[in-house]
C-alpha cells in the first residue's frame, strides 16, 4: 500500500490548498473506475432530468453518452424509463421516443383513449432586430367511444426587413385525423392535411404562393398467429393536390407496411419490417397546357436476427434492403428517373464470460448507389467490406480494451467529369486501438491509450477522365497517458499527455512535395475545486505543439505551431436567488518555421523562427437573479480582445488588433395564468461594439467603431382546456 501512495506524490504534484478545510460544494462528482475520464459535465441536471448511470448504460448500449443524454432530454424520459420502454417495445433506444410520439394517435393504443378530451392553444410572438414572427397553434384530442379525433392547426406570420424592403411570409396549416377502432386488432384512420404558404415582398417579382392539400385513408391490423409471433400490417392510400407558383401537381399514392416479430424461448428472436409505397402524379408548370406524368416507388426491408443473446456465445445479425425510384419532371418537358438504393448485412458474434470479459467479431457487407450530384441520371456506387474485432478483459483491477478494424471500400464516380467519365476509389482502412484503464488506488485512476491507423487510397480512371485524385497513404499513431486524482468530492484533478505522429504520403514523384510528417505533443491539466458551498472553480490548461516536416522539401519549409490555452470558470450561488458565473479564456498561438540555421552557423539543430503570433482573450460573465418563481433577470457581458503580430527579420510588427464588447440583458418569464394557462418568454436588449485597428508597416489605421443595439423578445401563451 505504501508504493502507490508514493506514486501519488510523484504523479500529481499538487498542493493547492489541499490542507485547508473545504465546505461541501456543488462540484460534480467524478465517476470512478473505467469511467473516471468521462465528461462529467454531461451529468448536470437538465429540465429536471438526472443522468444517474449515464456512462455505464451508454457503454452497455454501445452508444456515445452524449447521444443517450440527448435522447433523454428530447423526449423527457429518465434513463431507466428509456431502457424499460426499449426493452418492452423490442426496439433500439433511439427509436423509442419517435415511436411513443406516433402511438399518441394510434387508435389501437388503449392509453390514448384514457387521456380524455384535450385542447391546447399556444400563441408565440418573437421579435429580433430585423424580423418578427407570430405563431398560433391549436392541438386537440377528442376520444368519442371507439372514435378518436385529433389534430392541430396553426398559422404563422413572419415579417423580415432586408435591403430596405419588408417581406411578409404567411403559412397556415390544418391537420385532422379521425381513427375508428373496429376491434382490439383492427383500426382505420382518415386524415386531411391542408397547408397554404404565401411568401411576399412588396414590389418584388419573386413572390410565391402555394396550397398543398393531402387526404389519406389507412388501416392497421394486428395479428398473432401463434404464441411467440406477433405481426402488424398497415395499408394507406391517398391523394394530394399541390397548386403553387412553381408547379401544379395532382397525385395518388398508396403504401403497404408490415412488421413481424418472432420469439422462441430465450435463444431466438427475429424482428423484420418492410414496406412498399408508390405514387403517380401529373404535374405542369403554371401556364403550360400539358401535364407530365411521373411515378415514384420505394421498397424496403430490414430485420434483426438474434441467437442466444444472453448465452456465453451469441449471434446478432442485421440485414436491410432499400430501393427507390423517383421520377422528376423538368421544365423542358422531360421526365427522367432518379434511382437509388442500398443493401447491407452485418453480424456480430460475441463470446462473453461477463460484461467485462468478452470478445466480439463483427463482419460487415454493404453496398449503395446514389444519384450523382452533377448528373442525377447516373449513379455513384459504393461497396464496403469490413470486419471489426473488439474485446475487453478486466482483471486485477485493470480493464484492457482493444479493437481492430479493417474496411475495404470501393466507390465509383462514373460521371464525375461529365461525359468524359470519372474515377473509382479503392480505400483500405486499417486501425488498431488499445487502452488500459487502471484504478491505482481509491483516489487515483490511470489510463493508457494507443492507436494506429492507416488509410490507403488508390484511384483508377473510368472512361477518359483527366483529373483523378492522387494515390496516397495517410498514417497516424498516437499514445496517450492520463491520470485523475479525486482527492475528495470537493477537489479533483486530471493530467494527460499525448504524443501523435501522422504521415501524409503522396505516391507519385510529381506529388511528393506535399508529403509531410507531423509530430504533435499535447499536455492537458485541469482541476475542479469547490472552495465553498456554492462556489466552484474549474480550470483547464492545454499545451499543444505540432511540428510539420516536409519530407521532400528543404528544411526551410518545415513549420511549428504552438498553442497555449487556459480557461478558468467560477460558478457562484451567492444567494438562493442570485447566481454568478465568470469565465476567462486565454489563447496564445505563435507559429513559424522550424529549421537549422543557414551555413556556416548550422550546428545540426533546428530552431524555431517565429513568423507570427495570435493572442485571444475572452472574459465573459453570466449573472441571473430570480424574482420569485415567475421572473428571472439575467445579464451576460462578454469582452473579446485579439491581437495578431507578424515577425519580419526577427522584429514583431503588429498587424491587426480587435476589441469587442457584447452585452445582453433579459427578463425571462414563466407565469402561471389560472390553473391551465402559462405565459412564458423573454424580453431582452443586446448591445455589441467592435473596434478594429489594421497596421500598415506598424502604423495603426484605426477603423470606425461599429456599434449595434436592438431589442428582442419572445412571448408564448399556452392554454389547456
Amino acid at each position: 500500500m505504501t508504493s502507490p501512495r508514493r506514486l501519488l506524490l510523484l504523479v500529481i504534484p499538487l498542493a493547492l490548498g489541499l490542507g485547508s478545510y473545504v465546505l461541501p460544494g456543488r462540484a460534480q462528482e467524478t465517476p470512478q473506475g473505467r469511467f473516471a475520464f468521462a465528461d462529467t459535465t454531461l451529468l448536470r441536471d437538465t429540465l429536471g432530468l438526472t443522468f444517474e448511470g449515464l456512462f455505464p448504460i451508454a457503454d452497455s448500449l454501445g452508444m456515445p453518452p452524449v447521444d443517450l443524454r440527448a435522447l433523454s432530454i428530447r423526449y423527457r424520459y429518465t434513463l431507466p424509463r428509456l431502457l424499460k420502454l426499449s426493452d418492452s417495445l423490442h426496439m433500439v433506444v433511439d427509436s423509442v421516443g419517435e415511436y411513443m410520439l406516433r402511438e399518441r394517435y394510434n387508435p389501437l393504443a388503449t392509453t390514448a383513449r384514457r387521456r380524455g378530451n384535450q385542447f391546447t392553444y399556444r400563441s408565440t410572438y418573437d421579435i429580433t432586430r430585423t424580423d418578427s414572427r407570430w405563431n398560433n397553434t391549436t392541438d386537440f384530442f377528442v376520444p368519442f367511444g371507439k372514435v378518436l379525433i385529433s389534430g392541430s392547426s396553426g398559422s404563422e406570420f413572419h415579417r423580415a426587413q432586408a435591403g430596405g424592403r419588408t417581406s411578409l411570409d404567411q403559412s397556415r396549416t390544418l391537420s385532422t385525423r379521425a381513427g375508428w377502432t373496429f376491434s382490439k386488432n383492427l383500426s382505420a384512420t382518415a386524415s386531411a392535411d391542408l397547408s397554404s404558404l404565401n411568401n411576399g415582398t412588396r414590389g418584388s417579382l419573386y413572390n410565391s404562393k402555394n396550397d398543398d392539400n393531402k387526404y389519406s385513408l389507412s388501416g392497421t391490423s394486428k395479428f398473432q398467429p401463434r404464441r411467440g409471433t406477433t405481426s402488424e400490417f398497415s395499408f394507406s392510400g391517398g391523394a394530394e393536390n399541390y397548386n403553387g407558383s412553381d408547379q401544379q401537381r395532382k397525385s395518388l399514392n398508396g403504401g403497404l407496411t408490415g412488421r413481424l416479430r418472432n420469439v422462441s424461448g430465450s435463444w431466438f428472436t427475429h424482428d423484420a419490417s418492410g414496406g412498399f409505397s408508390g405514387d403517380v402524379g401529373d404535374s405542369r408548370v403554371p401556364g403550360q397546357a400539358d401535364y407530365l406524368r411521373a411515378r415514384s416507388s420505394n421498397a424496403n426491408l430490414r430485420g434483426t436476427l438474434g441467437l442466444f443473446s444472453n448465452a456465453p456465445i451469441g449471434l446478432n445479425l442485421n440485414y436491410s434492403l432499400r430501393n427507390q425510384r423517383y421520377e422528376t419532371p423538368t421544365d423542358s418537358g422531360v421526365v427522367f428517373p432518379v434511382l437509388s438504393g442500398s443493401n447491407g448485412i452485418d453480424m456480430s458474434l460475441r463470446f462473453r464470460l461477463d460484461n467485462n470479459r468478452y470478445i466480439t467479431v463483427a463482419p460487415r457487407l454493404a453496398s449503395s448507389n446514389t444519384a450523382a450530384a452533377n448528373s442525377p441520371q447516373s449513379q455513384n456506387t459504393r461497396r464496403d467490406r469490413g470486419v471489426n474485432v473488439s474485446g475487453r478483459y478486466e482483471f486485477l483491477g485493470a480493464a484492457l480494451d482493444g479493437s481492430f478494424v479493417r474496411t475495404l471500400t470501393t466507390t465509383k464516380y462514373p460521371k464525375r467529369g461529365g461525359d468524359a467519365g470519372g474515377y473509382a476509389e479503392d480505400r483500405d482502412s486499417r486501425s488498431v486501438q488499445g487502452s488500459m484503464n487502471w484504478q491505482l488506488t481509491r483516489k487515483i485512476t490511470a489510463k493508457l491509450t494507443g492507436e494506429v491507423d492507416l488509410d490507403r487510397l488508390r484511384y483508377s480512371i473510368l472512361g477518359s477522365f483527366l483529373n483523378p485524385p492522387v494515390p496516397r497513404d495517410q498514417y497516424g499513431q498516437s499514445y496517450r497517458a492520463d491520470a485523475t486524482y479525486a482527492f475528495s468530492k470537493q477537489f479533483d484533478t486530471h493530467l494527460g499527455v499525448e504524443v501523435r505522429r501522422s504521415l501524409f504520403v503522396n505516391i507519385p514523384a510529381a506529388s511528393t512535395a506535399a508529403n509531410t510528417e507531423t509530430r504533435g505533443y499535447r499536455a492537458v491539466w485541469d482541476w475542479k475545486f469547490a472552495l465553498l458551498s456554492g462556489l466552484t472553480v474549474n480550470q483547464n490548461n492545454t499545451l499543444n505543439a505540432n511540428y510539420t516536416y516536409y519530407t521532400f522539401l528543404p528544411a526551410s519549409a518545415d513549420r511549428l505551431v504552438l498553442d497555449y490555452f487556459t480557461s478558468t470558470r467560477i460558478d457562484a450561488d451567492v444567494t438562493r436567488s442570485l447566481r454568478i458565473g465568470i469565465k476567462n479564456d486565454f489563447r496564445y498561438t505563435p507559429t513559424g518555421g522550424f529549421a537549422p540555421l543557414d551555413p556556416p552557423n548550422d550546428n545540426g539543430n533546428s530552431y524555431f523562427s517565429q513568423s507570427d503570433e495570435n493572442f485571444q482573450s475572452v472574459l465573459s460573465a453570466n449573472m441571473s437573479y430570480q424574482l420569485g418563481s415567475a421572473i428571472t433577470l439575467s445579464v451576460t457581458p462578454i469582452y473579446t480582445a485579439t491581437d495578431r503580430k507578424g515577425f519580419t527579420e526577427g522584429i514583431a510588427v503588429p498587424q491587426t488588433s480587435t476589441r469587442s464588447l457584447g452585452m445582453n440583458g433579459s427578463a425571462n418569464l414563466n407565469i402561471p395564468i389560472g390553473r391551465k394557462g402559462t405565459l412564458t418568454g423573454f424580453l431582452g436588449k443586446t448591445f455589441n461594439a467592435d473596434h478594429r485597428i489594421n497596421y500598415n508597416s506598424g502604423v495603426p489605421d484605426s477603423q470606425p467603431r461599429v456599434e449595434i443595439d436592438f431589442w428582442s423578445g419572445s412571448l408564448a401563451l399556452s392554454w389547456d382546456l
Binding site: 488500459m436 491505482l440 491507423d453 526551410s556 498587424q655
Partner: protein, 217 residues
C-alpha cells in the same frame, strides 16, 4: 498486495513497450513513395529575363530543389556582409487585399516559402510556369545595375492521359518587376520588388500569385 502491484506494473510496462518500442508492423506501414527527381536545375541569373526563366524552373521542380532555386531569384538582404544589397518586397493588387484580409502589409522573402508551400501542397499535379511580355503596363526601363520589366505570368497544373494534356490555371497575373544586381554575386540579377496586378481581359477573373501569397498566411 505487493504481488498484485508488481503484476499491474508488468502490464503497464508491457503496454508501454508495445506502444512505443515495437513501432508499427508491416500491416500498418505506409507505402514508400516514388523518389523525386534529383536532377539539378540549371540556373542562370545573368540577365533579368534569365532570372525569370530560372524562377519558373524552380516553381516547376517542386519535388526537388525547386524551392531553393525559386527563392534564390529573390533579393536577400538579411545576410550580414554577403547579401544582395536589397531585400525583396512584394506588393498586392488592391482587390486582392480586400478579398483576403488580414494581410501582411510588408511581404518579404522570408514569407515567400509559404506561398510556394501552399501551391505544392494544394495542387499535386505537375506545374508549368510561363512568362510573357505585358505591353499594357508601359515601357520597360533599365540601367547597368537595375531594370524594370512588365511581365504576365501564368502557373498551371498539367494532367495527361494518353496524348491528351490538360492545363488548369492556378495563378495568373501581371507584375512590375524591379531587378537589381546582387552585391554578393557579381553579374547575378535578382528581383527586388514585385508589384502584382490582376491581368486585364478574361484572366482578370482568375487568381493572382499575390492573392495566393495572401491566402498562404
Amino acid at each position: 498486495m505487493n504481488r498484485r502491484f508488481l503484476i499491474r506494473c508488468g502490464l503497464l510496462l508491457t503496454a508501454w513497450l508495445m506502444a512505443t518500442a515495437m513501432g508499427p508492423c508491416a500491416f500498418f506501414k505506409p507505402t514508400q513513395p516514388e523518389l523525386p527527381s534529383t536532377k539539378p536545375i540549371p540556373t542562370d541569373f545573368s540577365t533579368p529575363t534569365a532570372t525569370l526563366a530560372t524562377l519558373a524552373l524552380g516553381m516547376e521542380d517542386k519535388s526537388g530543389n525547386g524551392q531553393n532555386v525559386y527563392l534564390s531569384a529573390l533579393a536577400e538582404s538579411t545576410e550580414a556582409n554577403s547579401g544582395d544589397g536589397r531585400g525583396f518586397h512584394a506588393f498586392f493588387d488592391i482587390r486582392d487585399m480586400i478579398e483576403v484580409p488580414p494581410h501582411d502589409p510588408d511581404w518579404t522573402r522570408d514569407l515567400e516559402p509559404s506561398v510556394y508551400n501552399l501551391l505544392v501542397q494544394r495542387y499535386s499535379l505537375p506545374f508549368e510556369m510561363t512568362w510573357e511580355p505585358y505591353e499594357p503596363a508601359g515601357n520597360e526601363t533599365g540601367t547597368v545595375d537595375d531594370s524594370l520589366l512588365h511581365r504576365k505570368y501564368r502557373i498551371v497544373t498539367v494532367s495527361s492521359v494518353g496524348n491528351t494534356v490538360t492545363r488548369t490555371t492556378i495563378a495568373v497575373g501581371a507584375a512590375d518587376l524591379s531587378f537589381v544586381k546582387s552585391q554578393r554575386d557579381v553579374g547575378k540579377w535578382v528581383i527586388a520588388a514585385w508589384q502584382d496586378f490582376r491581368a486585364i481581359g478574361s484572366d482578370s477573373a482568375l487568381v493572382t500569385l499575390g492573392h495566393r501569397r495572401l491566402e498562404s498566411r
